[in-house]
């Protein structure tokens, strides 16, 4: 019997796999309705059992549940939703926010120093207040995806959407962080080459 958190976790994985599929060369140029159909089919296939596990269950064992920011970025980058395509600058800002969050969390959570910022995600009011201010600031300066992403993460955490009880797991995950760091590094490298 699937619990609600298993449903949400597997749905997130299936959604991500489906969205990444339609970004593949050859498929990303297809008409939007075709790509939407492929997403729906791929989503369904992810739930089919292959042996003891479905594809989504297998992937979930490796990746864990995906954060709201990763799912939002994937959706924005898929081009499936009208008006949801990010301008280059807005995309860079979101990636920068994810990268900064990751750099402020992962090295310390993995053992650098004696303090663990992951602990703040267990109902720390100051951390929540800081996030609220960040979301407010993002909204004030028309950074819609950033404000919406932070808010959705806070909402998902408050209702226990995933099996994790830690707010950090709703904000970022290692895969989105790796992508953000990689994409920003690539942008920086290209800028340096142009200047050179």
């Amino acid at each position: 019997m699937l619990s609600l958190t298993d449903l949400s976790g597997l749905a997130g994985i299936s959604f991500a796999v489906s969205l990444m599929l339609v970004r593949l060369p050859g498929l990303r140029e297809a008409p939007a309705c075709w790509r939407m159909g492929m997403v729906v089919c791929a989503f369904a296939v992810c739930w089919l059992p292959f042996g003891a596990l479905s594809a989504a269950e297998f992937v979930r064992g490796i990746t864990g549940d995906l954060s709201v920011s990763s799912l939002a970025l994937l959706l924005a980058g898929s081009g499936l939703v009208k008006g949801w395509q990010l301008a280059e600058r807005a995309r860079s800002e979101v990636l920068l926010a994810i990268a900064l969050a990751a750099l402020s969390l992962y090295p310390f959570a993995l053992g650098i120093g004696g303090s663990d910022p992951y602990r703040w995600g267990y109902g720390n009011g100051w951390f929540l207040g800081g996030l609220a201010l960040a979301a407010l600031g993002a909204w004030r300066f028309h950074r819609t995806l950033l404000a919406g992403g932070i808010s959705l993460a806070a909402l998902a955490w408050s209702v226990g959407w995933y099996e994790s009880g830690n707010l950090w797991d709703y904000l970022i995950d290692p895969w989105g962080a790796l992508y953000a760091l990689g994409a920003l590094s690539g942008q920086g490298w290209r800028r340096l080459r142009r200047q050179a």
């Binding site: 019997m1 699937l2 619990s3 298993d6 976790g9 597997l10 003891a52 596990l53 269950e57 297998f58 979930r60 064992g61 490796i62 990746t63 864990g64 969390l105 992962y106 959570a109 993995l110 053992g111 650098i112 120093g113 004696g114 303090s115 663990d116 992951y118 602990r119 995600g121 267990y122 109902g123 720390n124 009011g125 929540l128 996030l131 609220a132 979301a135 407010l136 909204w139 819609t144 404000a147 919406g148 808010s151 959705l152 806070a154 909402l155 955490w157 408050s158 209702v159 995933y162 099996e163 994790s164 009880g165 830690n166 707010l167 950090w168 797991d169 970022i172 995950d173 290692p174």
Partner: protein, 432 residues
């Protein structure tokens, strides 16, 4: 309307989040003291036997719990080898009135765990059983989906019938990096508000001990780092002195000499912990165990060595865990050397096995063969007595389980009268 959508979302989201945050349970003090169980044992008692009964298998990392009816349940992992996909969590029940262990049974398998968690699981390990404040049993064990033990996360099952049956496994999320590298070994403790403190440790890139706090439903409320990664500590053991004070002993996994167990202390119910300090307890990068007796004295069992695990000692402290005195050398194969030939190993094993459990005399040859299969490679063999786990089944009764040469789980049952007798007799001269 669209212009209000985002501010509306922000308002709802953060209102809900702040409501959740203010409802978060506040820190609580330790629940100190044992739950006394009437004991009829006045005469000194010291008995040994094997808790596990399967042959030609590898076993490790046992834990135990006193049941309401006076029996003892033990759990360990067992399979073809540590980390193999066939490793499962096994258990058995000891009846002190008969002095016998019941048949070993499989409690949960990798396949059952994988199915229940709806995610791929490659291996299991390290079962730790505890009694929650509501009387239920909680069985924590480690699961790995990717990589080695550094990729572990903790899974939890609950029993409301003292271990006869268990709920479906569910995962605890305790780490942001794909939820890897939280493992469990030490005995959990209770807080006054009914929450549970579970000593855990991290060993991906850095090594450090931590303390999880779970609510009555097994949800993670907090996670405290006990030392920094630089301290290279593992497998914390929490010794609660009273509601505010506790001492945590940890395995030292570093290379700095002298190799000693590391300790931290708290005097405010665990809100803050002292800087780590090396104790006088030798530690060969091996697990230790301990408990606080009702009169405040502490017992610990560990490999009192800087290298190897071929000796195991029971020690007592009367000063809050600062100085320790050996009560009994439970196992000692130091004279055999770190590597022995198979012939010498077999010679020693017959006597060791019979001494460990006289009831196996009819199957001695099979027990010797099982031990050789696990303890020898390329004609060289070694002794290992490790991963001890000590519990109190009342103010006067103690049970210890530990890995015996990775082949059997050995059980030692002793009482306070025996301890006092050993102490009066002087025990061993070694003291720390």
């Amino acid at each position: 309307m669209r212009r209000l959508a985002l501010p509306g979302l922000m308002l709802v989201a953060f209102s809900a989040a702040f409501f959740k945050a203010v409802s978060w349970p506040a820190p609580a003090q330790f629940q100190a003291g044992l739950q006394p169980v009437p004991s009829g044992q006045a005469a000194p008692r010291f008995e040994r036997r094997f808790a596990s009964s399967r042959l030609h298998t590898q076993v490790h990392a046992a834990s135990a719990i006193a049941l309401r009816d006076g029996r003892i349940r033990a759990y360990w992992f067992s399979g073809s080898r540590e980390g193999a996909s066939d490793v499962a969590i096994h258990g058995a029940v000891y009846d002190p009135t008969t002095g016998r262990w019941g048949a070993e049974q499989v409690v949960v398998t990798r396949e059952q765990t994988q199915q229940a968690l709806h995610r791929y699981v490659s291996k299991l390990g390290n079962p730790v059983v505890a009694r929650a404040a509501d009387g239920s049993l909680q069985l924590f064990y480690v699961t790995v989906s990717l990589g080695g033990w550094a990729g572990s996360s903790i899974t939890l099952m609950t029993s409301r019938d003292d271990g006869a049956s268990w709920s479906a496994p569910r995962r605890l999320v305790t780490s942001p990096f794909i939820n890897i590298s939280t493992l469990v070994k030490g005995a959990p403790v209770l807080y006054e508000d009914g929450s549970m403190g579970v000593p855990v440790y991290h060993e991906f890139i850095a090594k450090f001990g931590e303390l999880l706090r779970l609510d009555a439903d097994g949800r993670v409320l907090d996670k405290q780092r006990l030392t920094s990664g630089a301290a290279r500590t593992l497998q914390p053991v929490v010794l609660v002195k009273n509601a505010q004070e506790a001492r945590v002993l940890m395995r030292y996994a570093g290379s700095e000499e002298p190799r000693r167990a590391v300790a931290v202390e708290t005097s405010d119910g665990g809100r803050h912990w002292s800087a780590p300090e090396k104790t006088a307890m030798r530690n060969s990068n091996a697990a230790l165990t301990g408990l606080v007796m009702q009169d405040g004295r502490m017992l610990t069992v560990f490999n009192d060595l800087e290298r190897g695990r071929d000796a195991l000692s029971l020690m007592m402290s009367s000063d809050g865990g600062v100085h320790w005195r050996e009560v009994e050398r439970l196992e000692d194969q130091l004279a055999a050397g770190s590597q022995v030939s198979e012939a010498q190993y077999r010679d020693r094993l017959s006597g060791l096995l019979q001494h460990s459990d006289p009831s196996i005399v009819g199957s001695l040859a099979q027990y010797v063969d099982s031990t050789v299969r696990t303890g020898c490679a390329n004609g060289q063999c070694r002794f290992e007595f490790s991963y001890p786990y000590l519990i109190a089944a009342g103010p006067d009764d103690f049970h210890l389980v530990y890995t015996w040469n990775r082949t059997f789980i050995k059980h030692v049952h002793f009482n306070r009268a025996w301890l006092e007798q050993r102490l009066e007799g002087g025990g061993h001269a070694v003291s720390h």
